[in-house]
Amino acid sequence: MNAVVNAQIESRHLLSGNEAVARAAWEAGVRVAAAYPGTPATEILENLALYPDIHSEWSVNEKVAVEVAIGASLAGSRALAAMKHVGMNVASDAFMTQSLAGVVGGLIIVVADDVGLSSSQNEQDSRYWGRFGHMPILEPADSQEAYQMVKRAFALSEEYETPVIVRMTTRVCHVKAMVIIEGDRIERHAAGFQKNPQRWVMTPANAKPRLPVMHERDRKLRELSETIDLNAASTGSDRRIGFVTSGPAFMHLRETFPNAPVLKLGFSHPAPLDKIRDFAAQVDTLVVVEETEPLLETEIRAAGLAVRGKDILPRFGELAPSVLRPAIKPLLGEPYPVPARSQTDIFPRPPTMCASCPHLGPYFALSHIRNLNIIGDIGCYTLGAGHPWNALDTCISMGASLSMAHGMDKGRGESDAKKSIVAVIGDSTFLHMGMQGLLNMIYNRGNITVLLLDNRSVGMTGGQENPGTGQDLHGLPAPRVDFAKLVEALGVRPERIRLVDPYELPTMVKLVREETKMAEPSVNITNRPCSLTDRFEHLKPYTVIDDKCTGCGNCIDLGCPAIFVARRETVTAKNGKSKELVFARIDNNACTGCHMCVETCAPEAIIQPQPQLKDRVIRIQPHA
């Protein structure tokens, strides 16, 4: 039996990669941790928040999070910033230069690549940033390694005075695995900021002398990579193929080819090219297995070694055993097991908005108004692109709705002549990177109708807090931004700032219809909380009176998943044409009693069995 399994049962824990990172950072004496929520990295900060001896925070975006961590490092504290892969794009302006200046307290950036796109708009390989920004990269393959490597990363960061990237993937972040907890927190005292303008004020004159220092650091890190124990070869009995690999792909490889020699790179950048050369000499064929881009492969080939990799393996997605087998077994001339059963042909269950989701009202309105170009953003409301609303036309990056909408307005083509342009953005995304787009649009005299869907949470990642919710990462009261005042300060006329109850469908439709016809920009702010958060108030469920339901199907168009089709009937209408009737019913386990669907039903078939008094006063409120 494996030695690991023999560890004391009490020291063995079932931890996700994210939980392991948090635990390790705490043990390593981290004093400041910052992040913006993003799948699959969100739980790192949620778990760090459990330790009272750390300052942990939701920052408003990833660039801010990294800068907070940099400040803490310069004060001599160990600091961590965590984010999903696309967050690195936002944060890069900060770390690209801090890498040149270096660090004082250990500074690590934990980045989670969503390999396989479980919940992301693209699939990026964050290992590029290590090469681009001259930062070493550690790549854990599971929770145990994440725990060990985060501790190593802090030590390396201080020893080499560099930010260190810990690169995770979804299959490390969200896998729960056994972790042997070995230590306790080691408290570290910060020396305080030591003023040194030549080092910390990155003017051209001060930055220039740092360049050779950074390149010398690269050289030393490359030497370290040759000797560090994180880069280790396991000898295998079958030397026909030797693998070079990093990250969770190692686990898939070990599973699939237990007898093959594997050089596993836990410290994958800078790559240990001499070690790889020695390893290659001991095997017939060298194959690089890396997720996702051929970075190591290209470097190994440039070093003059014959290597295979992306010529046989996919350049995207996870390199799971089911992918490795058919790609590599043919090289060995071996058959591989083909699943005995073919994929079953079952209906999909596409992601959908929740029952009483406050985004349903705005999308009901948008789907009932013609001649709109609807420019979307990142969040649950991206689902508006799907069935039954089909009311979202673009989605690329955090905050892009406002700036893209403005560009589309200014760059109108012929077919857009009569169209109105709407930008849809959520509260948290607006605060992350949307405000600048609004400011820009107002400043440059644009005309966009903005729907600011304020559901008082970061819904997509599970209801985290932001400066608009009135609470912080710890659930403690925090100053709450006033969106109406904020957008007014950015230059929107008070008359064109509306607060609206998204559950009031007729009002919602009227509002969007009117505002999109206006010759000036407006910001329309919804005011109901995400129905999955504690801020949401559950009321008695509604029901459809079967006898009254005429089968018009209007309520189904709202897209509330609590409303379902009870039966269909084809009838012949007066004009002789056949027509399909769709009779509705409400699932009273799912219905939260939000009342939204009631006004879609002309025959008043939707009722609440025991009417309740409910605060329904909020209609459109002009701000100011």
């Binding site: 079932l14 896998v175 695995a177 686990m251 898939h252 097991p337 209906f347 379902f564 089709v565």
Partner: protein
């Protein structure tokens, strides 16, 4: 301890407690000295989407993922979902299936069909199927949330450790955090265990898998 790794696939729909059940299996295996890995495939949907949780344990586990054709046990919280994941089950695998049917909006609006006889299809695939209405048992016990414990009870006699150990872990968990629910969960576990003993026989000619 068995030499090989046991692969359990727990499947259902977001919000049904699939991940909680998988977590309970993983924790119990860990407490029995196994190396354990558990991984989920859950898309963007917080509710209503397809959820599958892979639990693997044995002397040493590398990859957290179960490959098609390699699951030893399938625990299905919904029938169509059980059928969806059938290709992941070994030809000799065991499927423990809750007969609950949940049609998503794309089915209820008529874009797709719900399979007519999913249990029949499972049974005809030559695997060992145990199908029963966990919701009805939970209803009799007075709490629909018991489905989770009922399903764990049902699978408990197919695990490499005694059913009593899994039961004790579940009940202790409730005793620590929700003591009022401890006894009823113990009952639910036993009722599930009982229901899980009944095999569903195929009334169709053996299909060539």
């Amino acid at each position: 301890m068995p030499e090989s790794v046991l692969n359990i696939l727990v499947v259902g729909i977001g919000g049904q407690g699939v991940m909680t059940a998988a977590e309970m299996l993983a924790r119990t295996a860990l407490s029995q000295g196994y190396d354990v890995k558990k991984t989920e495939v859950a898309g963007m949907a917080q509710r209503g989407g397809v959820v599958s949780s892979h639990v693997r344990f044995g002397p040493k586990v590398y990859s957290p993922q179960i490959n098609p054709g390699e699951a030893d046990l399938l625990i299905g919280f919904e029938v169509a979902e059980s059928l969806r994941w059938l290709p992941y089950l070994r030809l000799t695998g065991v499927a423990m299936v809750n007969t609950l049917r949940i049609a998503p909006p794309v089915v209820s609006v008529g874009l797709y069909d719900y399979p007519a006889d999913p249990i029949g299809e499972l049974a005809a695939a030559g695997i060992e199927v145990h199908a029963f209405d966990a919701g009805a048992i939970a209803g009799e016990l007075g709490n629909l949330k018991l489905v989770n414990t009922i399903m764990l009870g049902a699978i408990s006699d197919h695990l490499p450790f005694p059913a009593e150990i899994l039961k004790a872990n579940i009940v202790e968990g409730f005793r620590a955090y929700k003591p009022k629910l401890a006894d009823i969960n113990a009952q639910a576990f036993d009722a599930g265990r009982e229901a899980g003993h009944v095999k569903t026989l195929s009334d169709r000619p053996a299909a060539n898998a």
